[in-house]
Symmetry: C2
Subunit: 309 residues, 2 copies
């Protein structure tokens, strides 16, 4: 059994392409993943921006199998495996470990609100104990604006103490830089890798000793984000960060998931890239026109977009 190297760099919660009937398209999914890998972007498939919580466990397992069968290197995969129901989280996490994934990104159970750290500790511990595999690397997923169930420093500390090596890091999507900075100071020195939840904090996170970022816009702006990850010590790093912020702002004027899908549909010439699953809604004509204008103004390029068609 080989120990995987620690995951670093830029990861993207990979957009899930749907057919017109809202079924996932495994071929387009694999092509998009290959396109990302070719640009040095790791694959945080089944994340928030993947509409993963709109997919059944069976759909996610089938997509994961299709990816691995297509030749995507599993060590570059960090699938989201958290779920409200622990049996679902166990099933997906087991499948990810069996497939050789470099890690998993784990939401807390997110239906019940105001739950205690003790309850969340038991939830994560239950999944880890049931999977019971030394290859498992868990990245906690802190995204209170969506999950409404935060992961506190106290919880991280308890989990790290009980499961050193298995608890590998966190994605901090709080949007709250002091929180990320606090995690960098307190936990990164213990080998707990802190990923910023978007490229907005990539430079700050690298300067603070972090591991990179896991960002939605990695789906559409991979090159410049990876460039900053590699060149964050160079003199033009702040200028690179500012350019990333400009591109991100063009997308963030609209609901991010439909906007990114609309951009890929536009640039690849494949209209069904725009499809989202309810409860999300596609951009309307005015929004699409506005997005194109904003992206053109930001000098946005989707390299080799034909590969995504």
């Amino acid at each position: 059994m080989s120990i995987q190297p620690r995951l670093k760099g830029v990861f993207s919660p990979v957009l899930t392409p749907f057919n017109a009937d809202h079924s996932p398209d495994p071929d387009r999914f694999a092509r998009h993943c290959r396109w990302l890998i070719d640009q040095d972007v790791g694959l945080a498939v089944f994340g928030t921006n993947s509409e993963a919580n709109s997919l059944s466990v069976g759909e996610k397992r089938a997509l994961l199998e299709a990816l691995v069968a297509s030749g995507i290197p599993p060590g570059r995969l960090m699938p989201g495996t958290g779920a409200c129901a622990l049996p679902d989280a166990v099933e997906l996490t087991r499948a990810a470990v069996a497939a050789g994934c470099g890690g998993v990104l784990m939401l807390p159970p997110f239906y019940y609100k105001g739950v205690s750290d003790e309850g969340l500790y038991r939830a994560f511990a239950s999944v880890i104990d049931q999977v019971a595999d030394v290859r498992l690397r868990v990245y906690l997923y802190h995204i209170p604006p969506v999950s409404n169930v935060p992961i506190t420093f106290n919880l991280i500390e308890r989990l790290l103490k009980r499961y050193p090596g298995t608890i590998a890091g966190i994605k901090d999507s709080s949007g709250d830089w002091p929180n990320t900075r606090g995690m960098l100071e307190r936990f990164q020195p213990q080998g707990f890798d802190v990923f910023a939840g978007s490229e907005s904090f990539l430079l700050a996170n690298m300067r603070g000793g972090g591991a990179g970022c896991i960002t939605a816009t990695g789906n559409v702006n991979p090159g410049p984000i990876v460039k900053l990850f590699k060149e964050w010590t160079l003199a033009d790093a702040d200028a690179q960060q500012a350019a990333l912020d400009t591109t991100r702002a063009a997308f963030a004027r609209y609901p991010m998931i439909p906007a990114m899908k609309a951009a890929i549909a536009w640039k690849s010439g494949r209209a069904d890239w725009g499809t989202v699953r309810p409860p999300l809604v596609e951009l309307d004509d005015d929004q699409r026109a506005g997005l194109r204008q904003a992206l053109d103004a930001a000098g946005f390029v989707l390299p080799n977009a034909g590969a995504l068609a």
Copy 2:
């Protein structure tokens, strides 16, 4: 094909009994359901207080099959079938209709926050269209304190217009009486049955023309709640409501689900009734002692509790 009578009265989100290993116990579940039916309480199995979102779809299907096989009349069942992923909601809703359930109680997809009414409309419509069965009766589940995804009047209006007969009513667990009153005024006259989300609003809801209540404490205080439903026009109705409020308050001093399970464990003499699934946590010794004291002070009785052991 027989048309089911409209559901009325007191329903309870049935507590799900777990074994020590956190697997559901179908036999105890069926006995609890029988005990409730015998006291004229309908079965809103797989609700919030059932820890239903901590159960996999497969676990819920198996429990539903066990219930029906045990002889529980399916017309008295209103299982929760909403889910984040539409394929899960479709699968569970289909199973409920096939089993002859009187209705289903449907959460909106609850992971993504701030979604539009258009997106929620498409989500509910997609489930109804895929199930495609004239027997389907959908009760919408408005519980913004937990789901954080409200069901607006605008959404109800659109769904009622498109699916008259199928959209049968709502459980309003907002805790916001003006909201319930507004629904009673605007939608109850159209045959859209408004259930209060707890017995705290049972009397007010009946006076406003509503259909009853769906309430957690139906699990532990069924007799007096059903009595008020039957006698709400009598002179002592306000006094009955006040007594219900006192019993509820004793439970509400603690996290409700573990508290109700602790009370059943206490009165039935079966300790594993206390077990909850993470992320919930059982009451500790002090909490259990405090609960017993509060329930004794409120004159709490669990009739025929031995049947629950």
